[in-house]
Amino acid sequence: MLELKGIYKWVNTGNHRTFLLKDVDMTVQAGEFISIMGPSGSGKSTLLNVIGMLDEFNEGEYIFMNESVHKLKEKQRSSLYKQYIGFVFQAYHLIDELTVYENIETPLIYQNIKTSERKAMVADILDRFQIVGKKDLFPTQLSGGQQQLVGIARALIANPKLLLADEPTGNLNSKQGEEIMNLFKQLNDEGMTIIQVTHSEKNAAYGSHIINLLDGMIQKN
């Protein structure tokens, strides 16, 4: 599905160059569930953002669904990403001013999907996640686990091929975390490709494959 070849990313501070990613090679097949692990500052989130096209890299090649991402223009990249990628955040990042329903609906609006169709799609996913009763509540009225559930629903609403999750359980207690991870597992079983960043060995174990990062480099086991 995607392939990273010799990815480098750095920042210059004065004369000093700090590498965030260093010679990262990585291949992800459709249907995989990959966990990226590593200590703080090892570049996990940066790697995830590069994969999610939220962040640029300085050197290397990135091929996503047979497209060379590094050669694409901003607009093409954005449409590619809109179509195939869903994002889940540690801090949920729901829009406080919108209800559960509207939060989930937002990506569809930006994909110019008709109102009636949107309604059906949102209703569908609310049903699937069993949060129909919460659809008119605002994020602040929900527990952390419920908020993350909405966050995942929003990430999935546009039927992405790849789900990227940045410490999705980081702000949750263990029971809520477990529920989320089970949900991920279930999604993966249904064929969704998932890449998650996590600190927890236990969560990493849900994945089919673990990548360890240290100082921007993938550690070979």
Binding site: L54, K82, H93, I95, E97, E102, T106, P107, I109, Y110
Partner: protein, 798 residues
């Protein structure tokens, strides 16, 4: 999509109440000012537009020179209209008009009509006033017929048909027949009347002369382009006409003024006071500045709040939003805000319209506020504001990098900060400018009110004086003086506050050609005493001095008696001492001796220097000045009225206070002062409002810093200083920018006055202090709250 944005926008506005309130309040006030000003300006610009032939109508201005001094005015004699129509093919039609006060009797109704207009029957050929009843061809032909306006008709006759009714006009109760009903004059008409009588009713005043110029003449030209060619012909024509009566360099001529430009551009009043185009510009600019202040507040608050909105933008972008989509979302938000403000401001403007009318001395109606033009303009303004005020924040917000804002590494950009500071400086510079301007205008108005004119204008009542009364003047004076609160009475042709009659004078040993132009006033022996002027040399007029002139027979060689002011003595080459007893001429026909020299006093507005002045007596003069003690004023006035009815039954009792007439000289300055007072207050309030909002956000952002500083031992005053310092610096910079500009602009304004205040440094000091104190109060209100807060709390939430 639109619905979605709308929803987000409304919820956002509801969520940040302070922000929304400040913005809506600011914009509402700004827009209200604008709406009222646009109404006013539009009304002024639309003056006389309804006259269908307006571009072909001209007003005739008389210009004449006697002995070197040139005079001109909006007056003409009765002969101009017929003579011009007969001799110039360009003139299609002409009308003579004059306005007067008349007492009207009808049944038991008695009214004092202030706008009783006389006009030739050609009136209807020239002007577009619509006659609702009656025949325009006959309505004003023949003497003693009158057309009444709709509302006047209602006042007198209720719902009855007025045509054919007889009203009694004037103190002699001349019967006039009502021949028609005319629509009320539009408020944007320079010609206003309640009753319109035929010109021939004036009877004997229709003399065949170019003198006795007491009427206004309008000409209707065949083509609007004829005005220049006609103008060119007039001087030669008049030279021929006046050849028999004028000699030397003296002349009489007439100038043509386009009718539609009179209200805003003419120095000569119409039948109501003119406005001025400069005044329109000032008002327009100030209203725009106020709107700008309100818009800047919006820009400032929006960019300052961008931190709060950053997360939302990040998420939207991650959800696939384009930069453009985000941009339009925020534009939409500013549009919603503007529309709310606009609706509110329409309401507010409607509410304020009566007070505004009073201030502007106009009758703008609510109806005109909802004209297509105003609505269209409002929509245009809304779009402009939305784009102007909304685009910068929208641009900033839509440019956010989602990775950065979602990870919380996002900081307000330096350039945004600079922009906010610039806008604050701008807002306060405008405010400081207006404060200084207001102070200087008030200072000058105070000076006008309180400067010693050289005579005492307090408690002087001005009554009209006609020939019948002049014949009887001594009796009238004696009768009035039986009341101890009536101190003295004097005749004067001009009120001492504004002596405009122009003459020329020369010493007896000077040749005719060496005439010096001079203002002169016909007065009697009580004038100096009545106005309290100071004689510095010689003695006051006596009753005998007056009699010398008034009782002289036709062929007697009269010797006049003159009182000069210092400037006149100087102009003739005399010191005050030397002047006494010297022989001189006022005009060619008035030889006389100088009786006294009076200390210079301001006999015209402060716009002009004190010029030479001669006081003398002759058999005319239309004002009776009555000096009162100032005690028991209502009783004294009642006494004057009852005496008047007894002594002067032929005229209604109408009085003015000299002081009020004095203030009228400065009407436009007084009004400008009032308007600027209001504008300056609004401007500083809006600027403070913006500052309040901005400091609220700044302080919110610095909560953690404040907490840390307090933990490290900063005291409450330390923190307040820290928070206020930045803003204060901006206000001071703003003042420093505004002051030189204000100084320059106000000097220009003051240059119009010969007698004026100097702009003292204290004005700038006080204005600066006001700006600083207001901003300090604004900021410290929030700063104190932040400073006394428990640091542990703020640190924990971070």
């Amino acid at each position: 999509m639109f619905k979605h944005y709308f929803k987000t926008a409304v919820r956002n506005l509801g969520k940040s109440k302070v922000f929304s309130f400040i913005n809506i309040l600011g914009l509402t006030i700004g827009l209200t000012c604008c709406i009222l000003m646009v109404l006013y300006i539009r009304h002024e610009l639309s003056y006389d537009d309804f006259q269908k032939k307006g571009d072909r109508i001209t007003r005739v201005i008389m210009e004449y020179s006697m002995g070197g001094s040139v005079m001109s005015g909006n007056f003409t004699s009765t002969k101009v209209a017929p003579a011009f129509k007969k001799n110039f093919p360009e003139v299609e039609q002409a009308v003579r008009m004059t306005n007067s006060n008349r007492i009207i009797h009808y049944d038991d109704k008695l009214f004092d009509e202030k706008s009783f207009m006389y006009a030739d029957s050609t009136f209807f050929d020239i002007f577009s006033f619509k006659l609702l009843k009656g025949n325009p061809q006959y309505a004003l032909s023949g003497p003693n017929v009158v057309v009444v306006t709709q509302s006047t008709s209602k006042k007198y006759f209720g719902n009855d048909d007025p045509v054919g009714k007889i009203i009694k006009v004037g103190s002699d109760e001349t019967p006039y027949q009502v021949t028609g009903v005319i629509e009320d004059c539009p408020s944007n008409s320079q010609i206003k009347y309640d009753m319109l009588a035929s010109f021939s009713s004036l009877g004997e005043t229709q003399e065949e002369t170019y003198w006795n110029a007491n009427f206004t003449t309008y000409l209707l030209l065949k083509d609007k382009k004829d005005i220049a060619s006609l103008q060119a012909k007039i001087p030669a024509f008049m030279k021929k006409e006046m050849a028999a009566v004028l000699s030397g360099n003296d002349y009489v001529t007439f100038n043509l003024e386009p009718f539609r430009s009179i209200h805003l551009h003419s120095p000569y009043e119409g039948f109501e006071p003119n406005s001025s185009i400069t005044y329109i510009y000032i008002i327009g600019i100030v209203a725009l500045l106020i709107l700008a202040i309100a818009c800047f507040t919006y820009v400032n608050l929006s960019t300052a709040r961008s931190m709060e909105r950053a997360k939302e933008v990040g998420i939207r972008k991650v959800s696939g939003a384009h930069k453009k989509q985000i941009f339009w979302q925020f534009i939409g938000e500013s549009m919603i805000l503007s529309v709310i403000s606009l609706l509110l401001s329409f309401g507010l403007a409607a509410l304020l319209l009566p007070s505004f009318n009073q201030l502007a001395d106009r009758q703008l109606d609510l109806y005109s506020m909802f004209s297509p033009f105003i609505i269209g303009l409002a929509i245009l303004i809304i779009i402009c504001i939305s784009l102007f005020a909304g685009s910068y924040p929208a641009l900033i917000l839509s440019g956010f990098q989602p990775v950065k804002v979602l990870k919380g590494a996002f900081k307000n950009t330096g350039s945004g900060l600079l922009l906010r500071k610039t806008l604050i400086v701008f807002q306060f510079a405008i405010s400081a400018f207006l404060i200084v301007a207001t102070f200087i205008i008030q200072n000058q108005l105070h000076f006008i009110q309180n400067k010693d004119l050289g005579f005492d204008r307090e408690h002087i009542v001005v009554l009209p004086l006609d020939q019948k009364m002049r014949d009887n003047l001594n009796t009238i004076k004696t009768e009035f003086k039986t009341n101890p609160d009536v101190l003295s009475l004097a005749k004067a042709s001009n009120e001492p506050i504004n002596i405009i009659s122009g003459f020329n004078m020369r010493r007896a040993d000077q040749a005719d050609k060496e005439n010096i132009s001079v203002n002169a006033n016909v007065v009697d022996e009580d004038f100096i005493k009545t106005i309290g002027a100071k004689i510095i040399e010689g003695t006051d007029f006596t009753l005998q001095d007056s009699k010398d002139v008034l009782d002289a027979k036709e062929d007697d060689k009269v010797t006049y008696h003159f009182i000069l002011n210092e400037s006149a003595a100087k102009a003739l080459g005399w010191t005050p001492e030397e002047a006494i007893g010297k022989k001189m001429y006022l005009g060619d026909q008035r030889p006389g001796l100088v009786k006294a020299v009076v200390k210079d006093f301001n006999f015209s507005s402060f716009h002009d220097p004190i010029k030479p002045l001669v006081l003398f007596n002759e058999g005319w003069g239309g004002n009776l000045l009555v000096k009162l003690s100032g005690k028991h004023l209502p009783q004294t006035l009642a006494f004057l009225e009852s005496k008047w009815k007894e002594l002067v039954p032929q005229r209604p009792f109408e009085y003015r206070f000299l002081d009020d007439d004095y203030n009228k000289l400065y009407q436009s300055e007084i009004r400008l002062g009032k308007v600027l007072n209001i504008f300056a207050t609004i401007a500083i309030l809006l600027a403070a409002l913006g500052l309040f909002g901005l400091s609220a956000y700044t302080i919110q952002q610095r909560t953690k810093e404040i907490g840390i500083r307090k933990v490290l031992g900063a005291s409450v005053p330390n923190v307040i200083t820290l928070l206020s310092k930045d803003f204060l610096t901006l206000v001071i910079i703003a003042s420093l920018i505004a002051f030189p500009i204000a100084w320059w602009a106000m000097n220009k304004w003051l240059e119009d006055f010969v007698y004026r205040v100097s702009i003292g440094w204290w004005i700038f000091l006080i204005s600066g202090i006001i700006a600083v104190v207001i901003s300090l109060l604004t900021v410290s209100f929030l700063a104190v709250k932040a400073a006394v807060a428990n640091p542990v709390k703020s640190l924990r939430t971070e």
